[in-house]
């Protein structure tokens, strides 16, 4: 069966890494795995918009060429003869992609875009696989709200550290991304929370004094996050879990 994942994956292979491709397809949700002939014009616009931003971010040198190839593939394979009916009841394809569903009211034929700031995103961190996807999700969010390229890599790195700590020491937890904007600045607040064993006060002091090293490097990870962010706060108590809040700022 030909799907967006199989066809676009073939085009991106060699230009965008496997991990990144998987994250792109995950963001497309059900659309990525739906048979191509089931896609509506609106679906294809949503896919094209997502691909364009991802390709510009991850393969800037070849972005023009890749975007053109993807557009061709979507046009040729998605709607034979370009006759797909935009009114077809294919809204179900959006079901597993809430972000796309919220913009479902856009007129057929116009690119689907999310609002400038958008809502908060809550990412479940349950296994090692979620570390890579949380990282890319955070990166995409940082780029989307207009943080610089360098700041966006810092955001991805910090989220990577926080997600690792959750998986290694608490087993599971959540990371929330909260984009904020006021007259002066754009902010991305990141809150990592778990119900794990927590960190004892003396251990916490040792971590930030640089004298504590766990076998898998949690001390290093927390200190690294603190150095990367503009604001940092940690609340933890033995037996009650840990909550790390931090903020990245960008000029408006």
């Amino acid at each position: 069966m030909r799907t967006v994942e199989s066809e676009i994956g073939a085009i991106l292979a060699g230009s965008i890494s496997e991990i990144t491709q998987r994250s792109i397809f995950r963001r497309l949700g059900g659309m990525a795995r739906a048979p191509l002939q089931h896609l509506t014009t609106q679906d294809r616009h949503a896919i094209q918009t997502e691909l364009e931003s991802s390709v510009r971010l991850f393969a800037p040198a070849k972005s023009a060429q890749l975007i053109a190839s993807c557009a061709r593939a979507l046009a040729l394979l998605g709607a034979p003869g370009g006759t797909a009916d935009p009114a077809a009841p294919a809204a179900g394809l959006f079901a597993s992609n809430p972000a796309a569903a919220s913009t479902g009211g856009a007129a057929p034929g116009t690119p689907v875009r999310s609002p400038a700031m958008g809502g908060d995103k809550r990412l479940a961190i349950d296994s090692e696989k979620d570390i890579a996807s949380a990282r890319l999700e955070a990166w995409a969010e940082a780029v989307r709200i207009g943080l610089s390229k360098f700041t966006s890599v810092k955001v991805a790195t910090a989220v990577s550290e926080l997600a690792r700590n959750i998986v290694f020491y608490a087993g599971r937890g959540t990371i929330e991304l909260r984009p904020r904007q006021d007259a002066r600045e754009t902010r991305l607040e990141i809150v990592a929370a778990d119900q794990g064993a927590g960190i004892a006060p003396e251990k916490l002091d040792a971590i930030f004094a640089g004298t504590y090293r766990s076998e898998r490097g949690m001390g290093k990870g927390l200190v690294a996050v603190q150095k990367l962010v503009d604001e940092f706060q940690i609340d933890t108590r033995p037996g009650r879990g840990t909550r790390v809040s931090c903020v990245f700022r960008g000029a408006r």
Partner: protein, 122 residues
């Protein structure tokens, strides 16, 4: 059948050196496998240097740094050089800001530069 995620990283032999291009998520098990595979080949093939190509790696956090540094340490214990090439500018800047140590791995701008440095060091 192994999925793409579980596959070992390919190790390529080039001019007396071993080259590994890291294009997948490094986790504990994969990193340990890579390290032992590299060390075995360093011993059997009298390898002079190991080159880790990270040009595909978009984010390097402190955990990945530690994994790379451990590989470097092990390779150096055996008497070979360990180089990291292709590090992205934003990744390098982030590592500097985080203050992480990467003392067991040398760096070079490109694969060519790393091979040249290893050959000069003979």
């Amino acid at each position: 059948m192994k999925t793409r995620d579980e596959q070992e990283l390919p190790i390529i032999s080039v001019r007396g050196c071993l080259l590994v291009s890291i294009q997948t998520e490094l986790h504990d098990r994969l990193a340990l496998e890579l390290r032992s595979a590299l060390m075995e080949r360093v011993r059997l093939e009298a390898i002079r240097g190991v080159i880790l190509d990270v040009s595909w790696v978009e984010v390097i956090d402190s955990y990945i740094t530690r994994i790379l540094n451990d590989i470097g340490k092990s390779v150096r214990f055996m008497g070979a050089d360990c180089y990291m090439v292709g590090i992205r500018p934003a990744v390098a800047m982030t590592l500097v800001e985080m203050g992480v140590e990467l003392d067991a791995v040398s760096t070079a701008l490109s694969l060519d530069a790393a091979l040249e440095k290893i050959e000069l060091a003979r």
